[in-house]
Symmetry: C2
Subunit: 552 residues, 2 copies
């Protein structure tokens, strides 16, 4: 969002004899006269893109006008660009198809970058439309001139500048195709203002929905089938294999072969709770991760990259598998996961009679007494509704809160994969837009939530059924302990300054209220039980601030 | 800020037998053993950089530890990266020297980008330190691996990756030199984690503070002197000529030559109020801008780029000067403005006896009655304290609020130059840090403030004397009127959705409270007078929400 419209509005209010530049251009809709923006909106709709998360500025006005003529396009306003891309990521994870974002110039794309980084690492497909200056004006060093291409290429798989109104439709179709390809890509289309306002032809349709995905050879399938039947073999799944019917098939492969079913630490979406096929998820720290994989003779990857340490360690390996353990990629994250799983299931002899080894429903009793993170987890586990979506960016608190939910009612868990915090609230927003009939629970640290708190307003605006739980430990606890690890025992002025989010403390009830979301602060477990029950039964969003409890 | 520290903390809390990677590395301070981070901090301090606006993550822990050992370094925590770079911009504009920012990886730099765009357009010098993964770990596709170089090069004048601990000090010195050169540049230094933790040598000192600035020839000075004495000549000043002693000298040049003194529309810093040398500032809209320059025979630029239209117009020129008017750049924004102004003053015969044509002090009476923007402006004009700093991103409201302040007590006005909104609150924060003895008044639209509202917390944390005035018109008014210009008379569902920041309305008093800043909502002018007086006399920040008044 920028202030270039200031010029226009001053023009409009004070100087009636000025013909607005945009007024000069006829826009006739229908018949054979449409502009570039109109052709792009129609192209989106013709190709099944019907949701746009928007943070527009004035150079997007033609696109907005075109959106306005198409009420079948769902336009969701976000007050900060990180909210648009995080929402488009959450949307894709649940919908399995692309939404669009509408952004303004290079600074707008910059604000959107962190959650595009996260979306890229999640394998989510997104179509970004970024308005730019008119092409003929770009040779002047005007205030908003910036390097959209440079920023885009640092995070997008596909970038194009649509420099003619008559090619916008086909460029838009190409963007959608790119976003849908390779199991989800970041596609960014820069739209100069004159491209939007000039006359165009009609919309374009993608001839194929997406490029076909690569498949392993039957030889490799057979080799994998044999390998998985040997002792101490492991199958690590990722992407779409982590949820839905493919998860079940992977579970049956594990049953038929005796192999161990694994998932990596950071996952964009995974089926959780009762009925989910059992698997072992690798933990974060490198040494226990290594311990989890002791004795493993082989790891076969389907839809996952090889596991690596998140962080470099001077005296530790970068990868956790034991010496002598082979790591084979049967199917990359960008390959045909569904075909591979099905073919492998056939090859190992999975039939309709194959039993599935699943988590049983086992709801903990509702806890009482002091507030601890473990009890928060038990309460969640007891109350998560069937088919809920849990978005987790609770960082340190999550270690204690998530484990009890393994035997909760069936739900989906969305996690962070790119590591840039400020994902949770936007992601929960997009998931709720994609799945309006499902409850969404957003678990976030207080520091993380501050990056994109503006998403609370969009949740209220759209009346989304999201219950936000903020774990307020009043500081960047991670960093405190990390500094201790560096050998600093007593913190001086500067360390204290940078780790304590205190003096003043953030007031999340006030912050929620400011965005139009009702909130409550709780300090004991009974209060949490009440608040969570109320949030889940309420229509629309609510926020619960959980005050810094001990782990257990 | 990222969650990679999660790994470390899990390590710390749960697995005592794990040796943290960082514990493995000895850090001895003093003597001949220091690490790269230490050498960088010492280099900063040795070269006069003593303020860092920080939003660190775990890969910056060594730098944080080093900062902690140097309490003479002022470390200011910001909860969002846009707050760091906006503050460094405001700091430079007032201090005329560089501050540093501390950022985490590519996503952190992305979040910082919009206000770096603004800072670049303002000619502000900033040194960004961006932590990165350890160099030997970068070959793995780990979650946080990202393209720092790509993002940086889209907005920085100077980018370097410091890939060896023993070169960090000299790299830091080079960064400072680059940031101080050309009247202020964006210099970005990427610091891989191992570079920070490995052993280094001592700090480095820049051999010269900055590269020498280009000066025009005496021949060009003489030609300019003659040109300015001809009829209808204009002198347009920019950069450091807009305030302080150079502004006075420019005013005297105008008096001695009879030329017209001009400033462009968007300026990073300008002296305002009583005692400032009179000048004409170009307005925003292109047609009245053209009208302002009718009859002008020549424009001589010192420290300013040629004026251009902010926006391209199909039937209007991109530049506003009349046909036949010459535009000569005597001194570019990156040249030696001080030398040029002084030399030109000598050449046109300015002496100590030359009178200065200045704005006289003329405080309006305190208004009463209904709330209008004009009265808000009059109140401001009456109450702005001497030597205050006004940061203005009030967008549409500013048109009515700023003009009465022309004859207020002397103050500095900081404006937006890059057009990416979300500048005001961080900029006010940095200005207040740079000038702790001066009152700061921040004027912001409600939409703009939502991009970087987290800066309110830093204002409270640092007890900054900032009075924030939010003009709450409950929508992107600019965009509403702009859409009307496109010929859309009645807004449909999607336009309404994207222009109204209503349903729900933002509650700025609650948002301020959430960040630890006292706030008040006012709906009449008496309330505004009281609130502004109270804010100006109070120690620490406060916020006033002004409810959507008419213009006059």
């Amino acid at each position: 969002m920028t202030i270039d419209g200031l010029h226009i509005i001053a023009s409009f209010f004070s100087y009636f004899w000025i013909v607005s530049p945009i007024k000069c251009v006829e826009i006739r809709v229908g018949g054979d006269r449409m502009n570039g923006a109109e052709s792009l909106v129609k192209t989106f709709l013709h190709n099944g893109l019907d949701t746009v998360f928007a943070n527009p500025g004035t150079s997007e006005m033609h696109f907005v006008a075109a959106l306005d003529r198409h009420p079948e396009m769902n336009c969701v306003l976000c007050l900060f660009e990180g909210g648009t891309t995080g929402a488009a990521d959450g949307y894709y994870r649940m919908k399995r198809d692309v939404a669009g974002t509408l952004l303004h110039l290079a600074p707008g794309l910059g604000n959107a970058f962190a959650n595009l980084h996260n979306a890229r690492k999640s394998g989510s497909g997104i179509v970004n439309v970024v308005g730019d200056h008119a092409t003929h004006h770009l040779r002047y060093e005007s205030p908003l001139r910036g390097d959209i291409m440079g920023v885009s290429q640092a995070v997008s798989h596909w970038t194009r500048v649509s420099d003619q109104a008559t090619s916008v439709a086909s460029d838009g179709a190409a963007a959608i195709q790119a976003a849908r390809s390779q199991n989800g890509q970041i596609a960014t289309l820069a739209l100069p203002a004159d491209t939007a306002w000039d006359a165009a032809t009609g919309p374009a349709t993608t001839s194929i929905l997406a490029q076909p995905l690569h498949r392993p050879s039957l030889k490799d399938i057979e080799a994998a089938a044999m390998r998985l039947k040997t002792a101490n073999a492991a199958l690590m799944i990722g992407g779409s294999a982590l949820f839905g019917p493919l998860r079940d098939l992977a579970g049956k492969i594990s049953v038929e072969t005796g192999c161990r079913l694994l998932a990596d630490t950071l996952i964009p979406r995974i089926s959780k709770g009762a009925g989910a096929a059992k698997l072992d998820q690798l933990v974060y720290p490198i040494a226990p991760k290594i311990a989890q994989l002791e004795q493993t003779s082989s790891i076969t990857l389907i839809g996952a990259d090889q596991p690596v340490a998140f962080f470099a360690y001077p005296d530790k390996p970068s990868t956790p598998e034991p010496a002598g353990c082979t790591v084979s990629s049967l199917c990359a994250p960008t390959d045909d996961i569904a075909w591979t799983i099905q073919s492998l299931a056939d090859a190992v002899g999975v039939t309709s009679k194959t039993q599935l080894n699943t988590y049983a429903l086992d709801l903990p009793p509702i806890p009482t007494g002091d507030l601890t993170l473990a009890k928060v987890g038990q309460t969640l586990a007891a109350l998560i509704p069937e088919n809920a979506i849990v978005c987790n960016e609770s960082v340190t608190s999550g270690f204690h809160v998530i484990p009890p939910t393994a035997t909760a009612r069936p739900h989906d868990l969305l996690g962070g994969t790119g590591g840039a915090i400020g994902l949770c609230l936007p992601c929960a927003t997009g998931a709720a837009i994609a799945c309006p009939d499902r409850e969404v629970i957003a678990l976030t640290g207080d520091g993380s939530a501050m990056y994109t708190l503006q998403s609370l307003w969009t949740m209220a605006r759209e009346s989304l059924d999201v219950t936000v739980i903020v774990f307020a430990n009043r500081g960047y606890q991670i960093l405190r302990d990390e500094l201790s690890n560096v050998g600093v025992e007593s913190f001086g002025k500067n360390a204290e300054a940078m780790f304590d989010v205190e003096n003043p403390t953030l007031d999340w009830v006030a912050l929620a209220k400011g965005h139009g979301v009702p909130g409550i602060r709780i300090e004991d477990i009974d209060g949490f039980v009440k608040a969570l029950s109320a949030g889940l039964s309420r229509n629309g969003p609510s926020l619960i601030e959980v005050m810094c409890p001990p782990a257990s």
